[in-house]
Symmetry: none
Subunit: 254 residues, 2 copies
């Protein structure tokens, strides 16, 4: 039995373009070319196409399939095992992504229903008040009333857009910090990026940035168990790690 492109195509469920492409990249050459230049395939080619499609279904790249089907005694199982690893990696990444997206949605959903500005204003006020009650006293003692008041004023004047930005920054910080923590190296690039993100995040609340205040706050993350609990939620030791990274970032390691 001999087949032209379309016959083979409909037989195997692929387009003629695909067959021409496979010819082009050399993974499936026709048995012969007739006098008019038509591609003619035989049974051998049908079988080979089945093989190709089989691996394609499994998500193997044509490049790899080429190795598998051209080398006569290629270890297909080994190739598949390798491929499997890649798939698993992809899957993990995907799961991470989904988790992050979920977190972001949850974060933004906190204010989703308050789409109107008034509620948003109310939320911001409440946040300031909560913060005041929780940490106000210590912060006031440390940085003075004036600084705190200015910070609160800044927060109040935040637009929705800015607020979203801060939220995004927070998520980014968390992600980066989690990654950095795995490296166990507070001097490393990731850790320093986390420290930098933390600074950026901070400048949204602090009217003025200073290395000393930054480093001091980092120390507080370790000293104050409420902060520690927040940062260590996913991975114990994260608060300490962040402090180290920030101390290096600010150059104020003591």
């Amino acid at each position: 039995m001999e087949y032209t492109v379309q016959k083979l195509g409909s037989l195997a469920g692929v387009s003629t373009r695909t067959l021409r492409y496979y010819d082009e990249i050399g993974i499936l050459k026709p048995a012969r070319i007739n006098s008019s230049g038509y591609r003619i395939y035989g049974q051998k080619e049908v079988d080979r196409l089945q093989q190709i499609l089989f691996y394609r279904e499994l998500g193997v790249s044509l490049e790899s399939i080429k190795d598998i089907v051209t080398a006569p005694s290629f270890d297909g199982a080994a190739a598949l095992r390798e491929h499997r690893e890649k798939l698993l990696e992809k899957k993990e990444q995907l799961e991470l992504l989904i988790a992050n997206v979920d977190k972001t949605i949850a974060l933004t959903e906190g204010r989703m229903n308050m789409s109107n500005k008034e509620k948003f204003e109310g939320f911001k006020k409440k946040m300031i008040d909560d913060n005041e009650k929780k940490y106000g006293k210590e912060i006031r003692e440390k940085y003075g009333n004036d600084t705190v008041n200015k910070s609160n004023a800044k927060l109040k004047n935040m637009t929705q857009e800015q607020y979203n930005e801060v939220t995004a920054l927070e998520v980014q910080l968390k992600l980066t910090l989690a990654e950095a923590f795995k490296t166990v190296d507070p001097v490393g690039e990731l850790a320093q990026k986390a420290a930098d993100l933390h600074k950026q995040w901070l400048t949204n609340y602090w009217p003025e940035y200073s290395k000393e205040a930054h480093a001091s706050l980092a120390q507080m993350y370790v000293d104050d168990e409420r902060f520690t609990a927040y940062y260590d939620k996913e991975q114990p030791g994260t608060a300490e790690f962040l402090r180290d990274a920030i101390q290096i970032y600010t150059g104020l390691k003591k």
Copy 2:
């Protein structure tokens, strides 16, 4: 503070090419262009880039990011939820792939020297497995988890001998079906023999036979184009013919 491409790039951790690309597709235009044609970015652009990178981290396409960052009051959360759905779909597909790869590995490992033909057999099995995944829910609902699980276990435990038997049955079925198809009579003897062979073949995969499941699968051969393609390979219309024959065989013609 003003930034050139490289400064902004190293600040945000992206290449200059990326910045030029973002300019090109219009999601991040520089604040201004200086007299020498250099791109100059300001604080607003830095913030915007942060936003873009944030969504990029979450795997959102630049196309979608464009909508999010250009439209001032775009519902980012809704976009994310939509994106989340896509991610979940991707994940499911990936899991299917991995499961198939695993099975293939198991198969090849069980029988080291799998000829091309046997690989094609693996492909057919995969189709059945796919069917499980696709219709598994309905089947499980219809016949209960236990039945389906037993079926899967059965498939895994097939010996080589049994495997050969199934292959032989399949060949017989194909021949008989091809002959029967010529008679154009699904009620005829040949067609009914084909239906019976199909039942025998099936019982190698299904722990329990039921007319309803059999008829349902036959219908699926027509509804699912992958199966249709398989059966119609030699003669278009064969899948439909087989379904008709089986419906009569089971006495469940609706």
